[in-house]
Symmetry: none
């Protein structure tokens, strides 16, 4: 996978910074060094470099960038080649591209864990008994996200999250089941669902 000119400049900056200081720069410092005015831009560059396997970092961690020395590359790991797309009963897939997919593409470097799902309360979301949900450890959630929530300190559930004033509605994805409506301070978010892994047989 090729690198762009700008990406190379960023990479050079990172290398220089680390060898000068012994620790990696903050996004702010990168922005200053590269004369960028928005951290969003820095963020995007770093993400792209990460996707291309040129550096490693931990999601949401300060100064956690590691430039991967050329040569120390690929993990043979758990990646699968992505053979293409298969359309709805329709025609064919095609591209013998060099794309691939792995768990890493779902969870990134986030702090995650998996839960095995029991029961069908999320059936309408196509999460069913026996599936594994891949959960990022988080204490907050956004409207409509699927979360693992601890209700009243006793009961953990998998639901969609909706904040309504100072109440929280936890919505099962199963039309037979009713939403749970509780005061915000009786709910603690354990994490948000990033993906699902299902294994047949």
């Amino acid at each position: 996978m090729a690198i762009t000119r700008r990406q190379k400049e960023i990479l050079d900056f990172l290398n220089a910074f680390v060898s000068r200081n012994g620790y990696s720069p903050s996004f702010e410092e990168i922005a200053r060094g590269m004369e960028l005015k928005s951290l969003a831009t820095v963020h995007k560059h770093i993400s792209n470099l990460e996707k291309k396997g040129l550096l490693d970092r931990v999601h949401n961690r300060s100064r956690s960038i590691d430039v991967i020395p050329p040569g120390t590359r690929t993990r043979t790991s758990d990646r699968l080649p992505l053979a293409g797309r298969i359309a709805a009963g329709k025609p064919v897939e095609a591209s013998e591209s060099y794309e691939s997919i792995s768990l890493h593409d779902v969870v990134g470097n986030r702090d995650c864990f998996a839960l095995e799902v029991r029961g069908d309360s999320m059936r309408d979301e196509h999460i069913v008994n026996g599936d594994y949900v891949l959960v990022e450890r988080t204490r907050t959630a956004r409207q409509g996200e699927i979360v693992v929530a601890l209700v009243r300190g006793t009961e953990t559930t998998l639901k969609r999250y909706y904040s309504e004033g100072n109440m929280i509605r936890l919505q099962p994805a199963n039309y037979e089941m009713d939403p749970i409506l509780v005061p915000a301070n009786h709910v603690s978010i354990q994490g948000r669902v990033l993906g699902v892994l299902r294994k047949y047989r």
Copy 2:
């Protein structure tokens, strides 16, 4: 694993202290040296450095810090800890077990590839648009397995496989769609689906 600026300062202090004195500093001495007013802060720094594998120490033991010379590292894998089970809207998960899950648990050492699913022909099987199906390259299938099948050399589809005499029935998992019934010699199996990976967002 990368280090923050402050952490590097602490680490430098430790190195300097040890090489000057031949023994490691107490938390009190670190606090003085780094101009910190709370031992809790020192403690947190030391713990973090320990977590990052940069130093080693014995819990609750005075002056037991050992700075680990750069060279010994660890890598992160694509495995996720399996935190337990989450029951259908019901109670809790529990086990902080040492189980884990990864793509390898789904595909094993088989010859596999992934396909991105387009359309909803397998909706009733909870395989939906955007999901990735994990497929083992195979020429044969057993009754009822989900397969990737090439029909009449032109059309690849994702269906359940049923052999009926010398006909083959390919059954979509969508009640709105009709099964495909074709002579066995007009169908070639491309693989069988071992699992599904879904990524949100």
